[in-house]
Structures are given as C-alpha cells and as structure tokens.
Amino acid sequence: MNDVVNNPRGGTATVHAAGVSIKDLRKSYGTNEVLKGISLDVAPGAVVCLIGPSGSGKSTLLRCVNLLEQPNQGSIHVGGFEATHPDVDIDKMRRKVGMVFQQFNLFPHLDAKRNCSIAQTKVLKRSQAEADKVSMHNLERVGLGHLSDRFPDQLSGGQQQRVAIARALSMDPELMLFDEPTSALDPETVGDVLSVMRNLAKEGMTMLVVTHEMGFAREVADRVVFMDGGVVVEEGVAEQVISAPTQPRTKEFLRRVLDPTHIEIQE
C-alpha cells in the first residue's frame, strides 16, 4: 500500500496508488463457470484495460476485485489487503477502491455535492465542512463545480458519470475500477468522461478499466488484456495487442469492433 509510484507516463504522482494481484481466480454461477482461472497483475499507478466480447467474464472479474461478486477460488490482493481472505474487513478495503458503474448509480435523492460527501461523513467520519470541501474539489476536477447543487435527474448521462467519478475520488482511493463507464452514454458525452479518466491516469492513479473504447485503451492503457470465455486469451502492451494481435480470437474480435461495417456475413 502507498507505494512510491513510478508513474509509467512520466507525470508527477499525485495519488497513493495500490497494485492488484489476481491469481487463478475462478467464479461460477451454478454450473456455469464464467471465470476459469484468471491471473492478472496491475502495478501501482498502471492503467490496464480489459477488453473482450460480452459474456467473456471481464465485468465479473472487475466486480470480484472489490467483492461485489464472491469468487469461488483463487486469490486477490489489493494494496495491503487480501480480498479473498475470509477475515478481510471488506468495508475498510472498499474505501481504498473506487468503483464506477455503467449505469452511474448516483443516489437520486441527493444532489451532486451530497452524492460526493455522504460516504465521507458516514464512513470516513469527516466533518460536513471538510467533506464539502473535498467534494467541491473533486467536482471541479471533473469539470462540474458549477453544477454541484443539481440532482442526478437534472444532469446529462455524461455529467452523471463524471459526478460518479468525483464521488469515488472523494474517498481518496488508491485504485479505481471502471465497469464500461461510457457504454450507457450518448456518443457526444463520451469524450468528456474519457478525458476525465485520461487526466486521472496522468496523475498516477491505478486503474482497471472494462471498456469497448479501443482508442482510449490504445492511448491511455499501459497494458490491454483480452478475455474470452472466462480466460485471458492475450495480454500485452496496449499498442501491440490492439494493432498487432497474435491470437486468432483477438484478431477476430478487434476486426469486428474496429471495423463493424465490413463484417462478412457468413452462412
């Protein structure tokens, strides 16, 4: 935990970043095994993008990291925590792990600022004044300082997602998990969210991102992991996996994603 960060992008590290280490992780729903022994390491301060077709298990993997899903086998270490240890203090660990959902999941009965401050006051026991200060700082960080008194239903999808990022950042996390953060957004608001994530990466945050945005993955990710059928099929440097994949399944997937209009329909 709190390792000195060798920021791979050469910027100044402004966050304490935690690493993630996943070993031989397995997860089944009934007889349906969705994760078939996944091993994955994320260095402190690194950005790793998980790509792959739907149903490949990448979201499940992400949700296992902060135990929204309980894995059946294998181990996960996050910073100084062993998430898979039976006696782990789940709530304490989750304070260090920010999560951003596809559907935002903002609290609809609270305004943007209160969305960011509620867990600070209730969990971190910060005073309301201090929590408000932190919330405003993070809302400004995502470019929404001027909308702090809006309720979620008064914000666009992209704005809601940026509030959700600010909410997670307000807990001073050492790792951020993103579960398809732009998949539910109108195309014109995707860019704002991605640029917030890009800045976060520059500041040295450890990020694990499930995404279909290949441009973002190529530009921002240190490594890209391609998953299919519950296993890691290929992983490596982002540019290499996306531009010159070696596995046939990766090639096929990328061809479909990058050039969806030129698919030959087969019999």
Binding site: N105, H109, I118, D153
Partner: protein
C-alpha cells in the same frame, strides 16, 4: 343506416348514462323517506353532540390512528427487512406473522389484547396502550408488505454503489436504500393510514369511559342518548370523511409527483 364507430360509441355512452339515471330514480322512489328521515336524517336533535365530537371523538380517533401508525410503521419496517433477510429463520417468522395478522379480523386482535392479555398476565392495560398495540400489530402486517415492495423497487445498483464506497450493509440501507423506498411507497402508505383511521373504530368492543370515546363510539353513544335514531352515526361517518378525503388527495399528489420524477 349503418353507424360509424364513433357514433356507435356515443350511443353506447348514452345508453349507459340512461341506465344509471333510471336506477337512481328507482332507488329514490322505493325509499320510505318519512321513516328514514326520522331515524337517519334527524338533524334537529343532534345539537348535544357538539362540540364533543370535535374535542373528544375526532381528537381521540386521530390520536389512536397516529399511535397505531407509529407502531405499525416501525414494526412493518422491521418485518420487511426480516422478510428480505438472507437468514431463513427471519424470513419464516416475518412471513408467518404477516400471513396471520393479515388473515384474522382486526376485531379479534382488539379483543385478544383488550381482554385476553389482561386475563393471561394479570395486568390491566389502559385503553390507549391496547389500541396502540392492537392497531399497530395489524397495521405492521400490511405495512410490511408495502415496504418490502418499496425496498425491492430500489435498483440493486444503489446498494452496490453504497457498499462500494465502504458503507456497511446497515449503513447503506439506512442512508441510501430506505429513504428511496419510502419515497416510492408514500402513496400506498397514505392509503394504509386511511384504513387505520377506520380500523381505530373497532375499539368500540372494549369498555371505554366517555373521555376515551373516538368517533364511532361517540356516534353509538348518541344513538342511545339523543333519540334521533341513527343520525349520530351518520354525523360520525361524515367526520371520518373529513380525515380520509384529505389523505386521499395527499396520496394522489404523492403519486403524481413520483410519476413526474424519473426514479
């Protein structure tokens, strides 16, 4: 000549209205107005009901209903959480309780707590406590089902988001899920209050002193003392409407408000 669909619909509407008018007219003609006027609409003799029906009857009905609702709401919330618990014993207890107290007449519950409990334990409860407990126990069974539906209507992502921020389960429920559930169930909950207002009348089966009379008992007392036939009950009934109609309007307002906001 053949009619268009719109003409047919209009004719059908006229026929329905006609049947309705004829039925009302028949009812009015068949009524023995002289007798019913003496025994139900005999407003000349009800003077002595005032102002007591306000200061005692209405006030006591409101107090009994309020106390019953407070017990019912707390009990209902507890039962709803038990019913959604992952611990089977809690679910069984809650289900048994709800099925039992929704299934027996509220009147029997009043008798059980008014006469049974004092006999069984050799204690004598004051009337307010009996109403509070009886009404609360019946109400909690109904309110529990309403709240359970409300809690389940809060999207699962809300709990996940709260837990992801490090909130323990109870904290996430109290701060995030329950407030949203209450907003959802506000209209049906208001309807529960209307039902409770009327159920508070069941206290008449117990022995009450004059200062404990609520609306129905007040009306029944008027029947025997005023010689105006059933008119006092009609007056009492009107007072229930004074309580319940504003509540209905309130429920409708909540409904239209929650329909306007997306979630």
């Amino acid at each position: 000549m053949a009619m268009t669909a719109r003409q047919r619909a209009r004719v059908s509407l006229y026929v329905q209205a006609g049947i309705f008018v004829v039925a009302i007219a028949a009812l009015i003609l068949a009524t023995d107005w002289k007798t019913i006027g003496n025994s139900v609409f005999n407003f000349g003799k009800i003077g002595p009901m005032f102002p007591g029906i306000f200061t005692t009857g209405l006030v006591n009905t409101l107090i009994y209903t309020f106390l019953g609702f407070i017990v019912g709401l707390s009990g209902g919330l507890l039962l709803a959480l038990m019913k959604l618990s992952s611990f089977p014993l809690y679910r069984w207890i809650a289900t048994g309780y709800i099925e039992f107290f929704r299934g027996v007449p509220a009147l029997l519950v009043f008798i059980a707590f008014g006469y049974g409990v004092p006999l069984a334990f050799g204690v004598s409860w004051n009337i307010t406590l009996v109403v509070m407990v009886s009404l609360g126990i019946v109400a909690s069974a109904y309110i529990a089902e309403t709240l359970r539906a409300g809690l389940q209507a809060v999207p699962k992502g809300q709990l996940e988001a709260a837990r992801s921020l490090g909130m323990p389960q109870w904290r996430a429920m109290v701060t995030i899920v329950i407030p949203q559930a209450f907003k959802i169930v506000l209209p049906p909950l208001t309807n529960e209050v209307i039902l409770l207002t009327k159920d508070s009348s069941l206290i008449y089966v117990l022995g009450l002193t004059a200062s404990q009379y609520e609306l129905t008992k007040f009306g029944r007392d008027g029947i025997s003392s005023l010689g105006a036939g059933l008119t006092p009950l009609l007056v009492a009934g009107a007072f229930y409407l004074i309580i319940t109609i504003p509540l209905s309007l309130l429920a409708r307002k909540f409904e239209s408000r929650s329909a306007r906001t997306k979630r």
